[in-house]
C-alpha cells in the first residue's frame, strides 16, 4: 500500500454512495439485459424467407448494440476514455469506437472540413464529401505527433513519403482503400493557369478497425496486409516565388480490388486537371471517406531535395511576365 493511500482518510459516506450508485447501474443493466433478450427473441422469430429479413435483422442488431452501449458507457474504463481523448482505445469494441468517433466528430472532423474548404481543396481537387474515417499523417523525422491539416512543411521533411494511418469507426468502413496524393498548384505558364499533378498512388490497401496502418512493399510483391504502390512518391518541390503548393491526400474506400492495376501508373501520370482526376475516381468506383492536406513552399531545402532525387532544376517566377520584363543585369538568369 502506498504511503499516500495509507495516510489518506476518505470522506465518510463515499463507500455507501459508491455502493448505491453501483446498485442503480445494476438496475439499469438488468433492464437493458431484458431488452436485449426481447430483441434477440424477435430476431429469432423473424422469417428468413421474408424480403425484408436482412433489413429488419440489421435494425434489431443495431438496437441491441445501442442497449449494450448504454450499459457499458457507465463503466469506469469507458468513462476514463471519455474524459481523456488521447488515451488509446480498444477499437474492436463498439463502445470504445463510439466514444472515439464522438471525439473525432467534435474536433478533428470539423477542423479537417474547415481546412479543406478554406484552402479550396474542395472543389479544386474533388467535390465536397462527408469524412467518415480519421486520416492521420506522420513524417519521418518530424517531431509533431499528429499533423494538423493545412500545416506548412519544409521540403526536406516531405522528401520522404508520410506514414499514413486510416482509422475507420464503423465496421462497414473496413475493407480496401486507395490513397491519392494530389497537387493542384503546378504553375502552367503556357495556359496562364495551374494544373494538377498526382504525386503518389496506393491501391488495395487493407484497412480494418484494429489494423489502421497503410502498408505497401518497398520492393517485391505485396503480402496479405499490404497494398500496391501504383505510383511512387514524388517529393513536392515548389518553385521560387510561385507560392504554396497544396498537397491533398485523399483516402478512398474501394468497392472491390482494382482490375488492371498495371496500367494505372501511366493513367495517373497523365492526369493534369481536377476533371480528369474525378473521372478516374468515378471509373475506378472510389468513394472518398477521408482526407488530409499539408502545404509546401520554396525554402532553403527545396534545391537539395531536387538534387537528391535527380529532379530538374526549378523555375523562378516574378510578378512581371518574361516578355514584359526589361532586360537588366539582375534578372539575366532567366
Amino acid at each position: 500500500m502506498s504511503t499516500f493511500r495509507r495516510i489518506y482518510n476518505s470522506v465518510p459516506g463515499i463507500a455507501d454512495a459508491y455502493g448505491a450508485a453501483q446498485a442503480v447501474l445494476k438496475k439499469i443493466e438488468s433492464r437493458n439485459a431484458a431488452r436485449i433478450q426481447r430483441l434477440q427473441q424477435k430476431i429469432d422469430a423473424l422469417d428468413p424467407n421474408d424480403a425484408q429479413y436482412e433489413a429488419r435483422k440489421r435494425q434489431m442488431q443495431y438496437h441491441i448494440m445501442q442497449s449494450k452501449f448504454r450499459d457499458e458507457i457507465n463503466k469506469p474504463e469507458f468513462q476514463e476514455l471519455i474524459l481523456n481523448p488521447h488515451k488509446p482505445a480498444p477499437m474492436s469494441e463498439y463502445t470504445a469506437r463510439e466514444i472515439k468517433k464522438q471525439h473525432w466528430h467534435e474536433k478533428q472532423q470539423m477542423l479537417l472540413m474547415q481546412r479543406l474548404e478554406q484552402l479550396h481543396i474542395i472543389p479544386d481537387t474533388l467535390p465536397t464529401f462527408r469524412p467518415k474515417v480519421d486520416v492521420s499523417l506522420r513524417f519521418p523525422g518530424l517531431r509533431t505527433r499528429v499533423l494538423e491539416p493545412g500545416t506548412i512543411l519544409p521540403s526536406s521533411v516531405t522528401a520522404r513519403p508520410p506514414v499514413v494511418n486510416i482509422q475507420p469507426f464503423d465496421e462497414h468502413d473496413e475493407g480496401l482503400y486507395s490513397i491519392i496524393l494530389v497537387n493542384p498548384d503546378i504553375a502552367d505558364t503556357e495556359n496562364d493557369s495551374f494544373r494538377t499533378k498526382v504525386h503518389w498512388v496506393l491501391a488495395d490497401v487493407p484497412i480494418s478497425l484494429t489494423n489502421t496502418r497503410v502498408k505497401y512493399p518497398i520492393m517485391g510483391a505485396p503480402t496479405e496486409d499490404e497494398g500496391t504502390e501504383v505510383l511512387q512518391y514524388i517529393p513536392p518541390t515548389p518553385e521560387l516565388n510561385a507560392g504554396f503548393e497544396r498537397l491533398c491526400l485523399w483516402a478512398f474506400w474501394q468497392r472491390k480490388p482494382i482490375v488492371g492495376i498495371e496500367d494505372l501508373k501511366t493513367q495517373f501520370q497523365n492526369v493534369t486537371s481536377a476533371r480528369q482526376l474525378r473521372d478516374m475516381c468515378k471509373r475506378l468506383q472510389l468513394r472518398p471517406l477521408g482526407a488530409h492536406v499539408w502545404r509546401n513552399r520554396y525554402d532553403r531545402t527545396t534545391d537539395s531535395v531536387r538534387e537528391q532525387y535527380g529532379l530538374p532544376e526549378g523555375r523562378v517566377f516574378t510578378p512581371i511576365r518574361i516578355s514584359e520584363r526589361p532586360a537588366t543585369k539582375r534578372n539575366q538568369f532567366n
Partner: protein
C-alpha cells in the same frame, strides 16, 4: 352491402367527449431514494471537509466571556508530537483544526423557555410528512400523499366502474370549457381550477366515442360530489394507485400523461 351501411351509420353516430384529468400537484418534496440519500450525504461531508476553518476570532473576541463559553465546548485535536511515529499520517493541526477531516464546531445552546411557544429561540419543528388523511387512508381527502401528484377518479352511476370524469359537449362549446364546466357541475363551485391548455393532452378511442382529455390543476378548495351528477363516488389517487381501480384499457391509454 348491409355491412357497409352499418359502418357508415356507426361513423355518423360517433360523438366527441371532453375528459378531465384534474390533478393536485405535490405539496412537499418527494421522498429520496437510497442512492440520493447516500449521495447527498457524501457531498455534504465532502463540502464540510473542504470548508474553511471557522474564523473563531471574528465571532468571539479573544479574552471575552463569550470566547470562554465557546472554548469550553470545543474538543481540540492533538497536534503532532516530535519523535512519534504516526502510521496513518501525522496530524496536520492548524488553528485548532485537523486539516485532514471536517471541523466539528459546537455552539453554546441558546437559552429559551420550553413553555414559551412564541420564543424566537425555540427549535424549529417541521410538520410530519404523513398527515391524518394518510393514517386514516382517507382517499377523498386532498391532504393525502403530499409528495405525489393526485388525480381525480370518479365512479360511474351506470357501470359502477372507476373512470376519469368525462362530459358530453354541446356543438358550440370548446373542449376545455366543456371540461371545466363539467367539473364545476359535478364537483360544486368551491374549487379554483386552472386548465393547463385548451389543447387536449390525449385522445382515447372508444368504439363509439372519442374522449379528448384536458389537463387541469386544482389550486384551492375541494371537490364535493353533487347528487345530480352522473357519478356516485370519487377518489384522489396517486398514479401508482390508479391501475388498481380503473380498467386496464383505460390505464394503458392514460398512463403516459400521468406523473
Amino acid at each position: 352491402m348491409r355491412a357497409l351501411t352499418g359502418r357508415s351509420i356507426s361513423k355518423r353516430c360517433m360523438s366527441i367527449k371532453a375528459g378531465a384529468i384534474l390533478s393536485r400537484m405535490p405539496v412537499i418534496t418527494k421522498e429520496l431514494d437510497d442512492f440520493e440519500i447516500s449521495y447527498y450525504n457524501y457531498t455534504s461531508e465532502l463540502e464540510k471537509r473542504l470548508m474553511w476553518t471557522f474564523p473563531q476570532k471574528f465571532f468571539f473576541r479573544p479574552g471575552s466571556l463569550a470566547e470562554r463559553d465557546f472554548e469550553e465546548l470545543q474538543t481540540r485535536p492533538a497536534g503532532a508530537e516530535k519523535l512519534v511515529y504516526y502510521p496513518f499520517g501525522r496530524p496536520d493541526v492548524v488553528e485548532g483544526r485537523d486539516r485532514n477531516s471536517k471541523q466539528d464546531i459546537r455552539l453554546p445552546a441558546p437559552s429559551y423557555d420550553p413553555e414559551d411557544k412564541s420564543s424566537m429561540s425555540r427549535p424549529i419543528e417541521p410538520n410530519s410528512r404523513i398527515t391524518d388523511a394518510d393514517k386514516k387512508n382517507d382517499l377523498k381527502s386532498l391532504e393525502r400523499a403530499l409528495d405525489k401528484p393526485l388525480y381525480l377518479v370518479v365512479k360511474e352511476k351506470s357501470s359502477s366502474s372507476w373512470v376519469f370524469p368525462t362530459f358530453s359537449i354541446n356543438e358550440d362549446s370548446a373542449l376545455h370549457t366543456a371540461a371545466e364546466e363539467g367539473l364545476f357541475t359535478t364537483g360544486g363551485p368551491d374549487m379554483n381550477i386552472w386548465t393547463v391548455s385548451n389543447t387536449p393532452a390525449l385522445v382515447q378511442k372508444l368504439s363509439e366515442d372519442r374522449v379528448y382529455y384536458i389537463k387541469s390543476h386544482i389550486l384551492a378548495g375541494s371537490f364535493k360530489l353533487s347528487r345530480s351528477s352522473d357519478y356516485i363516488d370519487f377518489m384522489w389517487l396517486s398514479s401508482s394507485e390508479i391501475p388498481k381501480h380503473v380498467s386496464s384499457d383505460l390505464w394503458n391509454c392514460v398512463n403516459k400523461i400521468l406523473n
